[in-house]
Symmetry: C2
Subunit: 613 residues, 2 copies
């Protein structure tokens, strides 16, 4: 194992930027990650020889390509091709001025990404073959793109004779990474697209990106068609364990979901699917295993083993997405069975590896993933929160859809005011409404510190208006959040069991981040930011999350909703090859803490069940 905590310092001139990166990263990637643009056309494969930099302090061994790009004197003076110069110690690096200004886009949590898509197009007007120039068709093209690549996909040869001869030898070469994958007749260089997938257990989102501008050309989303097999990953894994034929069905449903979204986005943007050469996929380990048709059983039972952490050479076709037949799929690697590619994507989009503040990243769901980092060290864990936040096990629970109570406030007059999604009467309670309801009732004292509803007498002493909402049914205490008069149908209740469910969930999560902080040797008050990822994080009230102890007791402005960071990460890797390397670096860098293995987890968990005083 490499020492994942070691980092090195790189100082870039003339920008004066100082960055800390894991050892072994190329100077080109390190610069790109930090918004420092270095000339390049090949995207970092040592072929274009444009990414020339001078190492003025510290040393980097010369690569084989350096001896072709530089004189021995230049090499002795520290000149290197940045894409092949792997930094292993502290360096000072002079970056020559750019010949062209590269474009950049703002993605993720304020991340400025230099546009360096792995897909590069080059228009070529080739010489006709003759008896004195009998180069093969493929060689004729490769000779026109020597600065991009010398490799090609053999499957592309089939259409090649026609593409060249119908276009009068005027074609566009399509290079993905360091491989020629297609030759399109005519000049198609202005059309450069990719589709970023956020492959969620509940919702799947496809963003069709114009890679030449960094802007979305279309966005489509729908519920994951696997839903009939269960709301969470465990129920889908169980489905496969009970019936092996379910694996094929779940794979098909994932493919259908992704394919329908891709076609919808293409139609909206006026893009022919065969023009698309790359998709990216951010999903948890179970979603990725199922989509690839790999039995997920070992993810679901201890010791929680993945078949693979990475899926480096996947094709879009492996995900059932019918773009160009040789189109690739960039799949985010997974740290563990329960800290999947979606979290690596989120950590990338949140800049967990470069922000120097001590930050906590929490993605709340049935399984809650937590990452703690200070730009130097990162550590992650997964906490089994259970289904409370998806409101699946909640008496009046429902998804955050029209009719769901998403905000609950108790006024100074002890009125219960509910915010309902959509312009409709309340139907049920979603996750953020649950947190609000419990937090507000705990604040006014209707729920005590242990999570128990107080007695009718105690409630009356607080406020008769609230006491009147407390009832018993089948031996279970209920609090009426929305009355029959308000709903025009059944009332919406919060039950004692609902409160318990929330307590279990928040205790699992807070035990998780407490153990991470301990491991890090930090205190909760040291945290400078808490990022709440995912759609749930968007709607959660920071104040109430603090109140129930779901997040550390910090000034409320330090609790930030990060939005759909997994989807943002998926966009980033399409826009930038170096960011893709960044995602793989995160896999090596983030330490993983397995909670099932901790003997102290249960004790800590019980301690965390109560609400903070």
């Amino acid at each position: 194992m490499t020492d994942t905590t070691a980092r090195i310092d790189l100082a870039f001139e003339p920008s004066g930027k100082q960055v800390r990166v894991p050892p072994g990263v190329s100077i080109f990637d390190a610069a790109s990650w930090n918004g420092i643009a270095i000339d390049s056309t090949c995207g970092g494969h040592g072929t274009c020889k444009k990414c020339r930099v001078q190492v003025t302090s510290g040393s980097v061994p010369a690569s084989r390509h350096d001896s072709r790009a530089f004189t021995q004197e230049q090499i002795d003076d520290g000149w290197r091709l940045a894409c092949l110069a792997n930094a292993t110690c502290n360096l000072r690096i002079d970056v020559p001025p750019m010949t062209t200004r590269p474009k950049a886009a703002t993605v993720g949590v304020g991340r400025q990404v230099i546009l360096r898509p792995s897909i590069v197009k080059r228009y070529l007007e080739l010489a006709d073959p003759s008896l004195s120039d009998q180069r093969s068709d493929i060689q004729r093209i490769l000779d026109g793109i020597t600065d991009l690549t010398e490799h090609y996909d053999p499957a592309m040869l089939r259409g090649l004779p026609a593409a060249l001869r119908t276009s009068d030898w005027k074609v566009t070469a399509v290079v993905v990474d360091d491989r020629l994958v297609a030759v399109e007749p005519g000049d198609t260089t202005s059309r450069l697209f990719g589709i970023a997938f956020d492959l969620g257990t509940t919702t799947v989102v496809a963003t069709l990106l114009d890679l030449s501008t960094g802007t979305p050309a279309a966005v489509a989303s729908m519920l994951n068609k696997q839903q009939p097999f269960g709301a969470d990953v465990i129920s889908r894994i169980s489905a496969v364990m009970l019936d092996p034929s379910a694996l094929g069905k779940l794979q098909d449903l994932a493919h259908q979901t992704m394919q329908e979204l891709a076609m919808e986005a293409c139609e909206e943007a006026g893009v022919d699917p065969v023009e698309i050469y790359e998709i990216s996929v951010a999903g948890n380990a179970t979603m990725v295993h199922l989509a690839l048709g790999i039995d997920p059983e070992s993810l679901g039972v201890a010791p929680f083993i993945m078949t693979s952490q990475s899926f480096d050479d996947a094709l879009a076709a492996d995900f059932g997405v019918a773009i160009h037949p040789r189109g690739r799929a960039v799949v985010f690697p997974a740290l563990g069975a329960y800290v999947g590619g979606d979290i690596i994507a989120g950590a990338l989009a949140s800049g967990m590896d470069r922000d120097k503040r001590l930050r906590l990243f929490i993605d709340i769901g049935t399984n809650c993933e937590i990452v703690l980092g200070d730009g130097n060290r990162m550590i992650a864990t997964a906490a089994p929160a259970g289904p409370a936040f998806e409101a699946a096990s909640i008496r009046c629970g429902m998804r955050a859809a029209p009719g769901a109570i998403e905000v609950v406030q108790i006024t100074d007059n002890f009125d219960v005011v509910c915010g309902v999604i959509g312009d409709v009467p309340a139907v049920g309670l979603c996750g953020s409404g649950l947190v609000d309801a419990v937090a507000e009732l705990a604040r006014v004292g209707i729920i005590d510190g242990s999570g128990r509803f107080v007695s009718a007498e105690e409630a009356s002493a607080i406020a008769p208006a609230l006491a009147s909402r407390l009832t018993d049914a089948d031996g279970l205490r209920l609090f009426e959040l929305a009355t029959e008069a308000e709903t025009g149908s059944d009332p919406v209740h919060l039950s004692q069991r609902d409160v318990r469910e929330l307590q279990f969930a928040k205790a699992a999560i807070s035990t998780g981040w407490q153990l991470l902080l301990e491991e890090f040797g930090a205190q909760p008050e040291d945290l400078q930011q808490v990022l709440l990822a995912g759609s749930f994080g968007t709607y959660l009230s920071a104040k109430n999350a603090i109140r129930i102890g779901l997040v550390p007791r910090l000034p409320v402005l330090r609790i930030v909703s990060a939005g759909n960071v997994a989807g943002e990460g998926a966009k980033m890797v399409l826009l930038s090859g170096p960011e893709r390397h960044g995602a793989n670096a995160l896999l090596r860098e983030i330490e993983y803490l397995e909670l099932s293995d901790r003997t102290d987890f249960n004790d800590r968990f019980v301690d965390e069940l109560a609400f903070p005083g």
Copy 2:
């Protein structure tokens, strides 16, 4: 273009062997090609670190892997991993004694091939996973084969969880080149197979090889099912030009041919096709293009352009051969549209690049390929011989099948004695019989130096027995080789037009080798060996080939039938990864002379029509 004529000298100690190789070849390959065994388990990918040699004179830059395998002092002393040390100047190399003696097999024209198949199997007994060892399934395997590879085929992940768990974590890793392609339950290391295909225009031969011993386990052959589309490559290309749907049909027929042969060989050897991970294919450019479904039109018309010279990453499935689904196809590269992979395979099997004698390699067919070399320089061309040798355009012509006259002798008593294939009466005349008939009639004077049948009077003066066989029919002179009495049916004739056809064919070929000799600055009498490749070469009488001027006038022992060298080359690349590199080196090394481009070709051709005095 690299200077293909430059060569360097390597001296190996303690064997004392001196070899000349093209610059840029690895020391490991150079040694292997010359029967000098160097330790290795990974087959030359820098992972096993066993191929340690010491360069004692001359210098080789250290590779990245050398710094891991050796101390700085050792590197300074010239120690290198032979597989990554590319020789670019004359070197003296010390090879340490082997820890195990590698097997070797004799293949091709006396070539001793060290068995280093690209397929390597390793039996593993893995530790069960646990909460304290949560490595992914694939990582657990990769950790057990770090000396072989760190890469894997992503498609293999699908079957991996079951393979590991049904076999109690006792499995065999299958590595092809530098990639893990499969994991088989249990210990299957003793089963290591490959199929070598000689994909001929007329006949296709499949040899199932046991790669652990180098011996054939089964051989199967049949006529190429593409035959109904024409006997030669031009007629098959024309078929596609006339009807684009013919391409798909021809591809299917090639696939059917190869698949039937593969299954027949598997059944005979008792090998399950999924146990086979690799095939090799030696075929001419048209056969390979058609089998891969690539339009061959541009091969058939000037300036004779290939879609690609190489097909490096092809799969057996691309040839319709249903072995292991991820099984590869090693395809011989082609030098030109008419000097295809079959000739590169033949040149490899004949050792054209290492035999220091001046040798001429001739593969006679409708298209005749000729290679001239002295182990230092090689030059090749293709001569349009036409269909005479396949006897397609010959009046009584037939394939070399039962009933074909394959030998013709005129005795001292002027009896005409015909050797017929099979224990049956003569039906027709095959190529070698045609050569014999014309050569014998020229010898006795019935055919004059210009190729004309002499007059009845002149014939009678030579021998009345021969004169009586000369007749005229429809204004065409005929010579009766086999009478009605002998055939029990129609007589077998040689016509004046047949003689002309043979003259055209032999003139094209002799013009070809004469121009090569001129290009080389050598005289015919300098030739120390003429290799006649292919089945036709096997049956041709060397004496008569000389007599008609098909081959240079040399002592008859210098004319050697080389047999099916294309098929032998196909076997060699399955038995040895270094030989595969050798085939690719030949592609770069052999110079190509295009005859269509020579203004002097027609004049020379006319000069060559006559029979030598």
